[in-house]
C-alpha cells in the first residue's frame, strides 16, 4: 500500500511541477488525434454510408476489408507506414518520418476503417421503409448521404467517438513512425511508455489521468450530441 501511496503522491507532484512540458505533450496529442480523427471521419463516414446503402457486386468483400481494418494491429500499420516513409521507401522523398505528419497519417489509417465500419453498421440498421423512401426520392448522392447521416446521427457520433478513442489511446504505431522525440513527436501515450520504462510511475499515472480527462471530455461532448435531435433540413 505504501508503494501505491507514493506513486499517487508522485503523480500529483508531477502534475504540479511539469508545467510547459506537459502542456506541450498534451497539445500535440490533441492536435494529432484531432486532425487524424477529422480526416478519418471525413473519409470513413461517407464511405460507410455508401457501403451501408449500396447494392453492388463485391460489397461483402469490401465490408470484410473494413472489418479487417478495424481489427488490424496498430503496430503493423505503423510498420507499413514506416516502410512507406523510410528514406529509401516509395514516399521517402517527403521527409516526414518521425514528424507529427507521419503520426497523423498512421492514425488516419487506423481511424478511417473504424469510422466506416461503425457508420456502415448504423446504415444497415435503417428500416426497409426508410431505404424504400430514399430510393423513391431519387436524391442526388450528396443530398442522399446527408439525409442518411442525419437519420443515423447517433451512429455517426458513435463512429466519431470510436475513431477518436482508437487514435488517442494508440501507442504502437505513433511510437514507430513518430519516434517519441521530446518536444517534437511525444504524445501522452508514448510519454506514458517512456515514464513507465524509466520506473517513474507517478509521472506515468499522471499522464494517464490526463488522457482519461481527455477521453471523458470528448466522449461526454459526443454523447451530448448523440442525444440531441438532429433532423433533416
Amino acid at each position: 500500500m505504501e508503494f501505491l501511496g507514493d506513486v499517487i503522491e508522485d503523480a500529483f507532484a508531477f502534475l504540479g511541477n511539469s508545467g510547459g512540458q506537459l502542456a506541450e505533450v498534451l497539445l500535440l496529442t490533441l492536435i494529432v488525434a484531432g486532425v487524424a480523427t477529422a480526416i478519418g471521419v471525413a473519409i470513413g463516414v461517407p464511405f460507410g454510408i455508401w457501403l451501408g446503402l449500396g447494392r453492388f457486386r463485391g460489397r461483402a468483400f469490401l465490408w470484410t476489408l473494413v472489418n479487417v481494418g478495424m481489427a488490424i494491429p496498430p503496430v503493423l500499420v505503423g510498420l507499413l507506414v514506416l516502410l512507406l516513409l523510410w528514406s529509401d521507401g516509395p514516399l521517402g522523398s517527403l521527409g516526414i518520418l518521425f514528424t507529427p505528419a507521419a503520426m497523423v497519417i498512421v492514425q488516419v489509417a487506423l481511424a478511417t476503417p473504424i469510422a466506416a465500419g461503425v457508420t456502415a453498421g448504423a446504415v444497415a440498421s435503417l428500416s426497409p421503409d426508410a431505404r424504400e423512401q430514399l430510393d423513391a426520392l431519387h436524391l442526388a448522392p450528396v443530398r442522399r448521404g446527408r439525409v442518411v447521416a442525419r437519420e443515423i446521427w447517433p451512429g455517426v457520433t458513435a463512429a466519431v467517438a470510436a475513431a477518436f478513442g482508437r487514435v488517442v489511446s494508440e501507442v504502437g504505431a505513433v511510437l514507430i513512425v513518430g519516434g517519441n522525440i521530446l518536444g517534437e513527436t511525444r504524445v501522452l501515450t508514448t510519454a506514458i511508455v517512456q515514464e513507465t520504462r524509466q520506473a517513474r510511475f507517478g509521472a506515468a499515472l499522471a499522464l494517464g489521468f490526463v488522457l482519461l480527462v481527455i477521453a471523458f471530455t470528448v466522449n461526454g461532448t459526443l454523447t451530448w450530441l448523440q442525444f440531441r435531435e438532429r433532423g433533416i433540413g
Partner: protein, 334 residues
C-alpha cells in the same frame, strides 16, 4: 391520345414476381393497378419507378406503400427533394390535405394517416409528368379518403397517374382505367366501371367481384341517404355528401334485382326500366346486363333466369336497395 409505353416489365429476371411484356398508359389518365396481396403490384410500381430492373423512369414521382418520414420537422420532410417552386405547391397541398398546421412539428409525432397525407403532398408536389401512388388511401378512414382522393385527382390533372390499390372504393374514386393484376400478370384492363361490372373471366370476377359504378351528382341529403342525379334517373345511396357534390355510386351485382312484373307501389326507391342487352352464364351465377340509360349488371341464379324467362331484348325493371349502394365523392370540381 399520346401514351407512355413500358416494355418488358419483368422482375426478378430469373423467377419473376412481375411479368408484363407491355403496359401502356395514356398521358393524362389515372390507371389503377388492382389486385390481391402478393399479386406483384408494388413490384410493378418499383419497376416503373426504376428502383428495380430496367425499363422504368427515374423521373417518376413515387409514393411507397409505407412512406417514411426522416428525423426532423414535417416541413423538412415535405420539402425533401423539392425545388422552391415545388415547395410552394407542397405547402398548398399539405394545407388542402389537412396537415398544413403540423408542418412545424417533429415528423415522428404524426399519426399514420397524417404521415400518409404529408407524404402524398410531397409526392404530388414533385413536378413530374408521371406519378406513382402505392395504396395512397389505405391508412385513411372513409371520410378522409374522399377528401384526399379529391386532392389527388385535382393534382394529377394533366399528368399521368398509376395507382396501386386492392380496394374497389379507391379504384372508383381515383381511376379512369383499371388493370386487374394477378400472379404478376395483367388479366384485364379497361375503364373502371366496365372492368368492375364485367370481369373478363371467373378468375378476375373472383378478385374484383362484380360491381356497378355509376357517376352522378348529389341533389340532396335524405337522412342517411343521398339522392343522386344519374342521367334522367334519381338514385338513392348511403352517403352524407352535400348537394352538388360529384359522386360515384357503387353497388354489387348481387344487390341488383331484376323484375318482369310491375314494381309500382313497391317501397323500393331505386327502380328503373331497362332492356336486357346481354345474358352471360359464366359460373354459378348469371350476369344480366340491362341498359337503363347506362348499363347495370345484375347477378342472378340460373334458376331465377329460367323463372324470369328473359333474354336479350327483354324489357325489365331493375331494383337496387338503397342501403346496398354507397356514394363516394370524386375530385375534379367537388
Amino acid at each position: 391520345m399520346a401514351e407512355r409505353r413500358f416494355e418488358d416489365l419483368r422482375w426478378p429476371v430469373d423467377d419473376p414476381i412481375v411479368d408484363i411484356p407491355e403496359l401502356s398508359v395514356e398521358l393524362g389518365e389515372r390507371l389503377i393497378i388492382f389486385g390481391p396481396n402478393g399479386a406483384g403490384k408494388t413490384t410493378l410500381l418499383r419497376l416503373i419507378a426504376a428502383i428495380e430492373g430496367e425499363g422504368g423512369t427515374p423521373y417518376a414521382s413515387y409514393l411507397p406503400q409505407r412512406p417514411y418520414l426522416f428525423r426532423g420537422t414535417c416541413r423538412a420532410n415535405l420539402y425533401l427533394g423539392l425545388d422552391n417552386a415545388d415547395r410552394t405547391k407542397a405547402d398548398d397541398l399539405a394545407e388542402r390535405l389537412g396537415v398544413g398546421d403540423r408542418l412545424p412539428d417533429q415528423a415522428r409525432t404524426l399519426s399514420s394517416g397524417e404521415r400518409m397525407r404529408l407524404s402524398i403532398a410531397r409526392t404530388l408536389a414533385v413536378d413530374s409528368p408521371l406519378v406513382l401512388l402505392d395504396e395512397p388511401l389505405a391508412p385513411l378512414d372513409l371520410r378522409d379518403r374522399e377528401v384526399v382522393a379529391s386532392v389527388i385527382v385535382d393534382a394529377l390533372e394533366g399528368r399521368t397517374g398509376i395507382i396501386v390499390t386492392h380496394d374497389r372504393d379507391t379504384a372508383a374514386m381515383l381511376g379512369d382505367r383499371l388493370a386487374v393484376m394477378i400472379d404478376g400478370k395483367i388479366l384485364q384492363i379497361g375503364p373502371v366501371s366496365e372492368v368492375l361490372a364485367t370481369p373478363s373471366d371467373d378468375t378476375v370476377a373472383e378478385i374484383v367481384g362484380v360491381s356497378n359504378v355509376v357517376d352522378g351528382r348529389v341533389l340532396a341529403r335524405r337522412g342517411a341517404l343521398v339522392e343522386v342525379e344519374w342521367g334522367e334517373h334519381r338514385f338513392y345511396a348511403l352517403g352524407d355528401h352535400s348537394a352538388g357534390t360529384p359522386v360515384k355510386v357503387l353497388f354489387g351485382g348481387e344487390a341488383v334485382g331484376v323484375h318482369t312484373g310491375d314494381l309500382e307501389g313497391s317501397s323500393l326507391r331505386n327502380r328503373f326500366r331497362g332492356v336486357v342487352t346481354e345474358v352471360r352464364e359464366t359460373g354459378r351465377l348469371a350476369e344480366v346486363v340491362i341498359d337503363c340509360g347506362s348499363p347495370v349488371v345484375a347477378l342472378i341464379t340460373p334458376g331465377s333466369l329460367d323463372t324470369l324467362n328473359i333474354n336479350e331484348g327483354s324489357e325489365v325493371q331493375v331494383s337496387v336497395k338503397a342501403t346496398a349502394a354507397r356514394a363516394v365523392a370524386v375530385g375534379g370540381g367537388a
